[in-house]
Amino acid sequence: MNVTDIRNHFPILSEKLPGGQDLVYLDNAATSQRPNEVIDKYLQLSTRYNANIHRAVHYLAVEATDQYEKTREAVKDFIGAESAKEIIFTSGTTASINTVAYSYGEVFIGRGDNIIVSQAEHHSNIVPWQLLAERKGAEIRVLPVDDDGRLRIELLPGLIDKYTRLIAVCHISNVLGLVNPVKEIAEIAHKRGVHVLVDGAQGIVHENVNVKDLDCDFYVFSGHKMYAVPFTGVLYGKKEILDCMPPFLGGGEMIESVSLENGTTFAPLPGKFEAGTQNISGTPTLTAAIDLCKQLRDKEITDYQQQLAEYVMDALMSDERITLYGVPRGNISKIPLFSFTVKGAHHEDLALILDKMGIAVRSGQMCAEPLMDRFGVTGMVRASFAAYNTLEEARYFIKSLDRAIKMLV
């Protein structure tokens, strides 16, 4: 498969914008475009397999349940989990983290305990912990990043004390694009009896994730950034920890037995965390998305992406008007995600002008206000590439950016 073949899987990429321009979609870190395989699956689920799962004995219900549970197996294999019971379906990364913050927090976090988050976290991996800390009288500690955006992992052992319960850290920051040494973090944490949650929203798209090898206690991600439909998400947790956690939401599906007199007992994993009707027409699109993700890890494709990433990186780094955040040095690698500011030009102005040139980039705080504060900026522009982006698009982006800067500065 080459980049042209890949593009043919994504109908939106051959559409023209209302202004007649070709769409150059560089906002993949926010959500990826959808391939035919996922669209077809979604349609098939609505037209052929629509029934509520895990309940009825009729044909459709059995088929729909089969689709859903096969997806759990596919996810288990994709991330190398021990058992499908460790795969909980949610509506996305945010829901997964909130589930852990609430449910894990109920059992494992008490007054005076602390949770460590990095300075480079998405708000979704900060706010649920702040809410938990407030509820429990716990403390949030921050692992800072250096000027290049790398986690100052050497400070981690000093941040951990006997009251530290959990480290919540992103595999890859949605702003910096650097691949964090999460395996090393898990090693440091586990030596001190601390659990680790990895926010894999960006990581699952670009890295070969094996949760057993990383040895993280939780790994969470969304479907919509890896070509599946929105409102699909995964919470992976080690079985022995999930077993200790109480349910988050109560309702159908998550129970074993309900009695108004004697109370309720809960279903075993994974049902315990899947209350109410699940995303029966969305979640199974993850199987199609996973199949595609696997194909996209082919060497020909990753080599091309590497070439594209190097071109963009060189162009941005060699331009004195531009400051790039998240600079790969040493053994830290970077995905093709580039956040930057331009001296004398506002991120919003740049994004508005680029939009008129047909280029979709993200601008603003990118749900990472603490990181913006760290670098002393009110926002950045972010161009994030996917496997379907071409070198021609990258060149057009760099040329258009230059034109936009000249208009503004």
């Binding site: 991120h347 919003e348 102005d349 508005l352 705080q365 009110t378 926002g379 208009m407």
Partner: protein, 140 residues
């Protein structure tokens, strides 16, 4: 100085001006020019209280009600937003509350800048228009 033209006349003039631009590039260059020439807003007035915080650009807005008319001063850290602020001020500055409330603020859309008013999280311009309307309503 009290405006000599009605709101509708000023809006019509802006729409006419913008209709001359075939290319979006010229439109934005004109807005950038307007933004650069916007009457300066005192740094000392850039307080938290006057700030409309947004995910994108920041907008500062100050207003005064004097002799039955509303007067606005505003600024932004983004130049295109500043250009649009300049248009809003040319239309709504020195108007009576009744005049402002009779306007539907649709000229921004008519000059093809709809996306600048998209309801992204805490859009400064959208909040600015809401504030102008609210102040007018409060002072009727």
């Amino acid at each position: 100085m009290e405006p000599t033209k009605t709101i509708q006349e000023t809006e019509a003039e802006i729409i006419e001006n913008f209709s001359m631009f075939d290319e979006w590039l010229d439109k934005y260059e004109y807005l950038i020019e307007l933004g650069k020439n916007l009457e300066s807003y005192p740094e000392s007035e850039k307080t938290e209280e006057k700030l409309i915080k947004g995910c994108q650009s920041r907008v500062w807005l100050d207003d005064n009600f004097e002799d039955g008319r509303l007067w606005f001063k505003a600024d932004s850290d983004a130049i295109i937003t500043k250009g649009i602020i300049s248009l809003l001020i040319s239309v709504y500055n020195g108007r009576t509350p009744q005049e402002i409330l009779s306007s539907d603020f649709s000229f921004i859309e008519k000059i093809g800048l709809k996306e600048n008013l998209s309801p992204t999280r805490a859009n400064g311009l959208v909040s600015m228009i809401e504030t102008i309307r609210r102040r007018a309503a409060e002072n009727v």
